[in-house]
Subunit: 429 residues, 2 copies
Amino acid sequence: MAAISQPEATPPVDAMVRDLARQARNASRALAVANTETKRAVLTRAAELLEGELAEGIVDANARDLAAAAENGLSEAMIDRLRLDRDRLAKVAAGVRQVAALPDPIGTTDDLRTLPNGLRVGRMRIPLGVIAIIYESRPNVTADAAALCIMSGNAVILRGGSEAFHSNRAIAVAFTRALADADLPEAGVTLVPTTDRAATTALIAQDAYVDLVIPRGGEGLIRFVTEHSRVPVIQHYKGVCHVYVDGDADLERAVAIAVNAKAQRPGVCNAMETLLVDRACAAEFLPRLAEAMGAAGVELRADEESRPLLPGSVAATAEDWDTEYLALVLSVRIVDGIDGAIAHVREHGSSHTESILTRDEAKAARWLREVDASLVLVNASTRFNDGFELGLGAEMGISTTKMHAYGPMGLEELCARKWIAHGDGQIRE
Amino acid sequence: MAAISQPEATPPVDAMVRDLARQARNASRALAVANTETKRAVLTRAAELLEGELAEGIVDANARDLAAAAENGLSEAMIDRLRLDRDRLAKVAAGVRQVAALPDPIGTTDDLRTLPNGLRVGRMRIPLGVIAIIYESRPNVTADAAALCIMSGNAVILRGGSEAFHSNRAIAVAFTRALADADLPEAGVTLVPTTDRAATTALIAQDAYVDLVIPRGGEGLIRFVTEHSRVPVIQHYKGVCHVYVDGDADLERAVAIAVNAKAQRPGVCNAMETLLVDRACAAEFLPRLAEAMGAAGVELRADEESRPLLPGSVAATAEDWDTEYLALVLSVRIVDGIDGAIAHVREHGSSHTESILTRDEAKAARWLREVDASLVLVNASTRFNDGFELGLGAEMGISTTKMHAYGPMGLEELCARKWIAHGDGQIRE
């Protein structure tokens, strides 16, 4: 031991993040008991600021990010995702108003019943507390996440990508100002005010103050967070989604669903990556599929058996079955009926979205029951695995692990349920 | 790099645990799709074996554990908890039959609705997969955990305390044999066949095969598991439970509830550790409390203001407010009404069980809404935070963290919910 004791050196970023997290925890207590009208007023005011008073400042801040992006050689697609103009801001504001219009889950109770001893018990929805979200690129996530967390009574710590830093900061101001206008603590929405990467590591170590971390981005980010976090993490690694065309499918509809699942928006996690086809209908179905996919500009990678039936296809390799292309590429494999399809999905699926196309209700029921994915479909496109499409409103991300939430995370999934019991003197015998 | 490459040395315990976990994962697939009748038949058969054919072997195995416990100087209380005789085995079997009689959650759906596009969506309960439970002493946990996991379609890996090793192993045989009798894989119930402590560390590293870890035991065990686990952990650190006696309480009932909460079974987590009393009724209530607690053999540790009102009490120290006594000791503090009580619970509570005693419905409603604990009560004893008492049937433990489950974990809490959607050709526009 040294003769004169020194306080342990704390890097300034660590100390700053800990302070922010502590303040967010305090703020979460006020948000947890805020009533529905107050939370709606905050979101309405934030939406107003986003397209009104603050719009010019946000567009200017975005211009700084765009200039840096061009300088750093970001792709056109990435620059486009980053861009904010008045039109896009109006859409962001509309999204915030949409969240404000959703039913408030906090304080709602279910499973109510009266026990034989007269104790009335039930479960009441409460906020989780403090939610940290770590995300890349698109600055609209800043507004979506802030709106969802405020409406569900949670405080949020936003850790956006460095390429959108100025945009994110300018958007966050709309929420902190709206919170202050409602006499709620500004720390309810906290943007980590640095691009220093050490801030991420510091954030996921704050298990005393942060209840949940949601990483949204590439697999590398998610693995890093999962491995280093002391806080529970909601994971979403990738979407290797399948459509299985059964021998009893309506083949015309099957072609339309397959094209939609693959090509309507190929760069997203709920797009189909592999099509499985029952041997029983392969000879009839695959040539029609090849024609439609060809017209949609999709490259086909086929297993040995299906290749002759798919003009213009190339040979699939073992790697293809585990690849999330996020592009106009589709792997195709012939399987032995529903058993073969279930076995393939079990081995190569990513617990994301799996669809069967069949007119046989027994097979449909078996698929729904036996296939393990956050959304399992019958006779519909995989593209429906999305909070808006499933009727939840906005989403905070999609969970592909089963703890706490499985699938799109809307307001309810940002809540816990506590037990409540109302008695008149009950004691335990 | 060495000239001749050597396979990396893997300690034999690590390799064994990984193998067991992989087999449990495979077994979980069969259990996930087993129907209700099959699962009930497994539990009924296991109960039959526990009190029939295997009873003598279990009692003999238990005798070895008891002999070792005596040799190792375990306390009488611990030895009693460890002891199994025919009577206790009959109770264990009855508990297994009780689980078999519970409604099967797997495959049940809720939140069913039809979206504007005609897609019928809902959420279906599915098993989590493989659950590891790490527990100390009482061998009946082996049967409870196995029964709950089988009924909820999960595979379970049991890691019991070394002091009950032979008893646990003998009990587990009832379940593996019952699984085999129903043509289900024996690995659905796996007891870690060693007392080597390295097995625990290896088990919580199996994130590829294990979905959830539930540690049940002292705070040290739980902290160790939380810090080292790569698998999500359900935590339950301790129960520092409060009863708040409001100025509007029925004081006669309040005395009865307080004595029940403290003294009916002081060694459990849902026993009261601190009583908070409204200044408004302290002078009237505390002398009556002192008399009743004295009669129940409870030592009182009082804050400065309440001490003169509590004959025979000693002075509480700052440490008392954070202590889980698990004994006939109670700390008492006078607070400024419900605000003071909520502030005390916020600072010293353990998110376990918090009860208000009042006849004022507005204060009751505020307590239910604002106090953060897995069970929040009005006018009832804290002792009701228990799966059986709340009508869940047996429980796998109590969660005091909000992720996934908060409160007693019964069959439903051992499930996840996946989204299901049934269409007739829906594609996304």
